[in-house]
Symmetry: C2
Subunit: 221 residues, 2 copies
DNA sequence: AGAAAATTAGACAGTCTTGTCTAAATTGTC
DNA sequence: GACAATTTAGACAAGACTGTCTAATTTTCT
């Protein structure tokens, strides 16, 4: 029984090993450029085993995208849960949050993979990435917007449209890493820190409360 | 004499036709996915002619990237030349500028092509895209930063680091188009306009002069 | 019109890749 | 240790693609 997901323990190891290798190869080579032998070799498995587990190449690709999408979304929401709802030092707390966002969601392997794959194969498999689109960025933006709206309601921020603010926050956080993210290289800790600092400073200049224009002291909640 | 660039007039038509078709196909299919027959057919030319003009596939790819890079950079600098150095209405003028930037540089065919190709093949041909990197974004950022610095010096803006501000301006301008740009779809005029408006409003909240915090009247130059 | 250059269609060998199949070896379970 | 499931190496056919070659045709220039 080949496709039974409750297979023996050893199988599961091979299964994840294959998905892992396939993710790497698809990401490096794109769908057409990837070949099954490469994936099998990188997974330390025979080619036939790959076919046993996932059928054909397109099937394997879909499985990989689903897997990574799920993992990436989980990571995003875990990071979102660390949003500073009751900030002691708003600027410092947001900087820390921005750094976590970059490290755990944008710059890791899953983030790089999804970015690349969506751009290369997004037009070829629209239904596949529709799931990513609605579950990933869609929910992320909404959730982040809700957090900002709460901060604004508590008097920490001033904004008209929390949805726009959320998108802009994410855009600012990536502004300085744009080049690294494009080329797929992993930015250093210094780059991530500096990107987060610049982003939050500007974000608070735009959305911080007017009285504390320089954004130093925290207001009463 | 096949490779003579000063060939007859009719050749030039075929040459650009091939480059054009190749750009489309490489962009759609990626390097491995593209095949020469497809390119020849789309160019309305026989396969042999493609080989006559550009040698092999890798060579053709390089020629295409160089061509598009050059054209895209020209477009960027043409748009940059329309920067509002002496704004009558700073907000409105910057919105118009942002819209031009998006339409002429980010959302057109060349912008889409480069974004996609750099992300897919950037690691495979680092030397090729190094030229894009230093001539394109590198100079764009610097030039835009210089414009902002001049506006700040003239009293229209307040900023510490014009380089950061320039990067953030571009990031904000793309914030709302992120999804379209990822998937390669062309945003509507309304989307472009709204993206530019949101971006400039926030940019001016952060970098506009404090007295005119709502950014309505223009200060004396 | 006539010569030179370029283009075309088609065939072609060589290579690579996919997906299947088989028989042998390995693994895990009872 | 025996049995069942899984994995493995390798062969294999079918198809696709690259890059070359040739002979015929078209275009371009004089």
């Amino acid at each position: 029984m080949v496709f039974d997901p409750t297979a023996q323990r050893g199988h599961l190891a091979k299964r994840v090993s294959i998905l892992d290798a396939a993710a790497n190869v698809f990401c490096r080579e794109g769908f057409s450029g990837a070949n099954i032998d490469m994936i099998a070799a990188e997974a330390g498995v025979s080619r036939q085993t790959v076919y046993n587990h996932h059928g054909d190449k397109a099937n394997l690709f879909v499985a990989v995208v689903r897997e990574i999408t799920e993992r990436a979304n989980a990571g995003v929401f875990a990071t979102l849960a660390t949003f500073p709802d009751q900030p002691r030092d708003l600027e410092a707390d947001l900087v820390q949050f921005a750094m976590r966002l970059n490290r755990n969601c944008m710059c890791n392997r899953d983030g790089k993979f999804l970015r690349k794959l969506i751009q290369t194969e997004g037009e070829r498999y629209p239904e596949l990435f529709e799931a990513w689109r609605s579950d990933g960025p869609g929910k992320t933006w909404a959730a982040l917007a809700a957090r900002f709206a709460r901060l604004a309601h508590a008097g920490y921020l001033e904004m008209d449209d929390p949805d726009v603010a959320a998108r802009q926050f994410l855009a600012l956080v990536n502004a300085d890493l744009h080049m690294s993210l494009m080329l797929g290289t992993t930015p250093t800790d210094e780059e991530v820190a500096s990107a987060a600092t610049n982003a939050v400073r500007t974000f608070l200049r735009a959305y911080g409360r007017r009285p504390q224009a320089t954004a130093a002291s925290s207001p009463a909640p």
